[in-house]
Assembly symmetry: C2
Homo-oligomer: 333 residues x 2
């Protein structure tokens, strides 16, 4: 067990009687074994020795030289959120395929934290950023654009900034059409954080259908708050406090829906017989509690988010994307 000296291009080159530049070029050539940078024989010898010695390029040296880190930073409200965790998985999967790697950070949906984390990632020389926590008014994104930092949004849109999202408006419509088709006429909405596009678009889609069908959803039956189970519980309690209980509730998010479900069960309200309930995203727990919901392609949103960013970095011309949702009808509604 020798001193375990690191195996660098230099030691490979010396052993092969070559210059580091040649070794570097061959090893980096995407053409692989039939690189045009050396004779077939030399190329083979280089690959053989590199493999034998277990050579791995020092990414710090490479990044220093090329001024590219091959790293993209991802900022999400919170990784604990299944939805964002899934999208991040999609981002990371696509990144790995492209030879990139990702670093993720929680913003807790707070502007200052978002900014701090983003700046930290930029200090680490991220080549680009992906935001999963955009709010409808977002001066920081403008600033970044001004600074020429490449970035893309996932999950939530924000103005004209490049984004990959679910077609939330369409998803809201799906739920509305379904619940109306079951014959209900009084509705409540657990609408999530009003400063986000997901909240707004989903409820807008829902309400547009209601309006089109001539159904009036009272303003005070639309309850805003957060996206988690606790917010769902609180909103449900609010909706049930009305003299005329709703016949169906649309929560724009599965977690909020499950929180609401807990309240209903606690009070002995039968679902869906007394009140129907629908969520959004089709997280596994929705299946676990038989919740009607809208499936959004979370993983794919992440994947395309990274691809979009990469095109942007590559200087290509890219446009925002909206992926289609699917209604999943289960026992709750």
């Amino acid at each position: 067990m020798a001193a375990a000296e690191p195996v660098t291009l230099k030691v490979l080159a010396k052993e092969l009687g070559l210059n580091v530049s040649t070794v570097s070029r061959v090893l980096n050539d995407p053409a692989g074994p039939d690189s045009k940078w050396a004779s077939a024989q030399t190329t083979a010898r280089i690959f053989a020795l590199a493999r034998e010695r277990g050579y791995t390029r020092n990414p710090h040296a490479a990044s220093l030289r090329t001024a590219r880190s091959n790293m993209v930073g991802v900022i999400v409200p919170r990784l604990q959120d299944f939805v964002l965790a899934t999208m991040y998985e999609g981002v990371d999967e696509a990144a790995t395929e492209q030879g990139l790697f990702t670093v993720v950070a929680n913003s807790l949906d707070k502007a200052e934290t978002q900014r701090a984390k983003a700046e930290m990632l930029l200090e680490r020389r991220a080549d680009g950023l992906i935001f999963g926590d955009a709010h409808l008014t977002e001066p920081y994104l403008e600033e970044l654009k001004g600074r020429g930092v490449p970035f893309a949004l996932i999950n939530r849109t924000c103005g004209e900034h490049l984004s990959v999202t679910c077609d939330d408006y369409a998803g809201g419509r799906l739920v509305a059409e379904h619940l109306i088709s079951t014959g209900r006429t009084r509705f409540g909405v657990i609408a999530g954080d009003p400063t986000t596009s997901t909240s707004q678009d989903r409820t807008r889609g829902f309400l547009d259908v209601m309006r089109e069908k001539g159904i009036n959803v009272l303003e005070d039956r639309i309850i805003h708050g957060g996206f988690d189970a606790a917010a769902g519980q609180k909103a449900a309690i609010g909706l049930l406090a009305h003299p005329e209980k709703p016949e169906a509730i649309f929560a724009v998010n599965d977690f909020a829906a499950i929180g609401a479900l807990g309240v209903l069960q606690e009070r002995g309200i039968r679902v869906p017989d007394d009140i129907a309930l629908a969520g959004f995203n089709d997280t596994p727990l929705a299946a676990g509690v038989n919740l009607t919901t809208v499936r959004s392609p979370m993983h794919e949103i992440g994947r395309q988010g990274l691809q979009t960013l990469q095109h942007l970095i590559g200087g290509g011309t890219v446009a925002s994307t909206k992926l289609a949702p699917t209604l999943i009808v289960r026992a709750s509604g």
Copy 2:
């Protein structure tokens, strides 16, 4: 809007009429403003200009020179899992406090993927690794130890390897004592993946109490599988297939418990009147569906996991830690 040339030590030094070495030393001195590397005046000038120009150290250059990346790699079964996501948040929080940063990867609980991701992280020159996906037999960890790679385990233990976990055995005991105290005598266990310490320790704790109280839990009432809602559903169906239904079910994991809950409700079985149900971890959804469970300090496990690793890297002497769980009694049991 000039060519936006990067602001390096060199440009600072030139502007100040100093040498880069001086600037570097002052900027790196943990003593901060009263560094002993330069006169108070010079130090002030350096800090002033650095701030004005918005200097940020190039981490690639620094890492190249120092051969330390200040990055630790974290490997988890899956970030979608709330429990591991929370632990990772703890890791990352502690890392940020220490001026480190983290990169996380999913292993999907598969040995090959775990190895592949770990090696990728090491190629990126991670200073150390944290595993949240250890299995009871784990040759790779032995190999890493042999190679001198610093690492720590969180969530699950494995042999004598350094770890920070919840005291799962104690948690299992808590559940057993509680369920017995409610007067039930026939039990079923949804035991999760048997190749993990969490599964084994939690069920062993549970069964030890049962044995101590003279209660016999039949072998076929202990159903193994995964840790997710789907596995919970399947296991619950299995348990209900018995002629004598259990009076209480302990799922070693909240998600599995929620899956089981769905099956019970679907069949019109009242919880807890007909069957009591308890989970493990106290995820927010447990509160959402009023599930009795065991609270494990997930975030803190992550934090201490990082601290442990850091001590290990620093050459200190460290021992494994088990953090105490708390029983949370809710409506389900």
